[in-house]
Amino acid sequence: MGDQVSNKVRELRFENERMTQQALAELTGVSRQTIISIESNRYTPSLLLAMKIAKAFDRAVEEVFSYCENGQ
């Protein structure tokens, strides 16, 4: 398994008054499908989008996204 970027987007959405995927998508300027893909670790967002997502939750990028070497 290769290197992977995991995230806590789903958890953070629920922590933030159960923010919907659509609401997060609108806040970050992407489609809901992209949020779904990010949450399920099937799409690694660009640095810009990662920062937008972190800002939407008022967190630092490294609190939302973490780098996993060899899928650990």
Binding site: A25, E26, G29, V30, S31, Q33, T34, I36, S37, S40, N41, R42, Y43, P45, S46, L48, L49
Partner: protein, 139 residues
């Protein structure tokens, strides 16, 4: 379903209908008239009008653009391969028959065939990317 996926389906449907039309026509005539259904490909020109971006709606984001870029590369490679393979096949057939000259009308057909392969492979790739399992991109 975003506009790229809709236009990809539209392209596939139009191209398949045009090719099936050619196949049917070729059963009746062996002349160039068999290629007449290819005129249906002109319907592809309506794609930007039929699938306009809706105001205020986020339709294409970075993930979609990535899919479109990959699809364009795949389409370009496939059409180039089709063009080269088609050219080599034509040459092979003429060489096998011992013919030293080739009908000049085959050249635009070869280029047109390459263009069809470009649109079809690009669209099929886009559809496959949004199918849910491929390359981690879902619909």
């Amino acid at each position: 379903m975003n506009t790229e996926l809709k236009s990809a389906w539209y392209t596939v449907v139009v191209v398949v209908i045009a090719l099936l039309g050619c196949l049917l026509m070729s059963a009746y005539t062996r002349t160039m008239a068999a290629f007449a259904p290819l005129g249906l490909l002109g319907l592809l020109g309506f794609t930007p009008i039929l699938f306009r971006k809706q105001d205020g709606k986020i339709d294409l984001d970075e993930r979609d653009l990535e899919v479109v870029q990959k699809a364009s590369t795949v389409g370009g490679v496939c059409s180039y391969l089709a063009f080269v393979v088609g050219g080599m096949l034509l040459w092979g057939v003429h060489f096998y028959r011992g013919e030293s000259q080739m009908n000049v009308h085959l050249i635009p057909l070869l280029i047109f065939g390459g263009a069809i392969v470009l649109y079809l492979s690009r669209s099929v790739f886009i559809i496959s990317q949004y199918s849910g399992k491929a390359l981690g991109i879902d619909g």
